[in-house]
Point group: C2
Chain length 252, copies 2
């Protein structure tokens, strides 16, 4: 078993790296929501994906029979898998659990068997009806989001997937337009930017998106923003180099 892991891992890593570098990473957004068609949040998030490339939006209808082979094929074809759902009793609604129970068969999923999902990323986009700050020891909900999501973290662990920092959307209905804009960008990054979401990765992503927008309108203004962002990035890298040199000097 050790040997099998040794042989397979470099392949998966290489494949994943190529997907990132080649900018062809494909993201599958699996959406479960019992009131999907009336959900303002899901509508907003769906609109946020319009125009983004390499995104497959995959809504799971209620009380459906899943075609296991077709669902597994979808998983095979994507690099980043997102479970997107409103938090119901501290996990996804039953439909996503049904999907997990039926589609994620043991041989397909376990990293030490076929391990088809190995090296892929698992992200969670969850919406809360209550403030995120309620989710901690001593607060109304008593447990943190990290604790509540353990079953998904354990799934990622068993499948050899990379578990992404979850994107928590709390109280969407109370968001100001500015907060919604921030959510839109955070969400688009969550689906398409290289993980982990360091400052530098996020900035690269914004520059790239802005460059795309150049072709449409407001070109002069956009160019100013891009120039500023790129200058920031050069400054940041200079700063990093300086810190590195200081540290090296300190360590003698």
């Amino acid at each position: 078993m050790i040997n099998v892991l040794k042989i397979q891992n470099p392949y998966n890593r290489r494949k994943r790296k190529q997907a990132m570098i080649g900018d062809k990473m494909k993201t599958l957004v699996i959406v479960a929501h019992p009131d999907y068609h009336d959900s303002g949040t899901q509508g907003f998030l769906k609109r946020a994906t319009e125009g983004l490339e390499e995104i497959t939006w995959h809504y799971l209808p209620e009380q459906t029979e899943f075609n296991v082979a077709a669902e597994q094929q979808l998983l095979i074809e994507h690099d980043r898998i997102i479970f997107q759902f409103p938090m119901y009793w501290y996990s996804a609604p039953a439909t996503l659990k049904k999907w997990e129970d039926e589609v994620l068969t043991r041989a397909f999923t376990f990293a030490n068997e076929k391990g088809i999902l190995k090296g892929k990323e698992l992200g969670i986009v969850t919406t809360l009806g209550y403030p995120a700050k309620d989710f901690q020891a001593g607060a109304t909900e008593g447990f943190s989001i990290s604790e509540i999501l353990v079953p998904y973290r354990a799934l990622a662990h068993r499948a050899g997937m990379i578990f992404m920092t979850p994107l928590v959307v709390d109280q969407f209905d109370y968001m100001t337009p500015d907060q919604q804009t921030k959510l839109l960008i955070d969400y688009q990054q969550y689906l398409t930017a290289a993980f982990s979401f360091s400052f530098s990765v996020r900035q690269d992503w914004i520059i790239k998106q802005l460059k795309k927008m150049m072709n449409s309108n407001n070109q002069a203004q956009l160019q100013l923003v891009i120039d500023q962002l790129e200058q920031n990035k050069i400054d940041l890298n200079d700063l990093k180099d300086q810190i590195k040199m200081i540290r090296q000097a300190e360590e003698g």
Copy 2:
């Protein structure tokens, strides 16, 4: 809200205490298992409840529409609620999640709203296909059962229920007859003995069960076992008193 809690809590505590003392605690076993009728473990556990009083065995059929009012009425009528299921992807199968999503409405459940479940006990009986020791940091499963069950612990927290130490049944198919007998007793205690399961509570329970059996057969032999157990208990209490006196003397 503080006042409401203050008024309601003593009532719930009193009610619960009466149920325990009066030996009329009622237990609801909610069973979810996609292959229920072929499950040797569930069959074994069901047989273990035969002859026990005040137990309601409540199997949730797959793909059923729940009658929310009837399900809530069942919860109202019982003091100890057990979720019993095989662990599928680190939580209950989808049917139990569907039941939670539909039956546990907010006003009914939240401790700070109607709080109908407040003061009741929530127990988990979960069966594992893998050894329990795999469930820890650094082992195959990577997370402990306590971590994996956070969504149920959070539910108990939100509903003001007492979360019982889970009863984990691992690899039932490999159990020896002796191990099965031990499981049978552990399970019967889990459903009917006063929580928490201290040594003294367990012994009381065994004495009571044996006394019931007296009426049937092997009376002389049973009487010997009962005498021995009761003597053990007296010895244990003597020992406890002695330790207490030593400690008090030490503290001067």
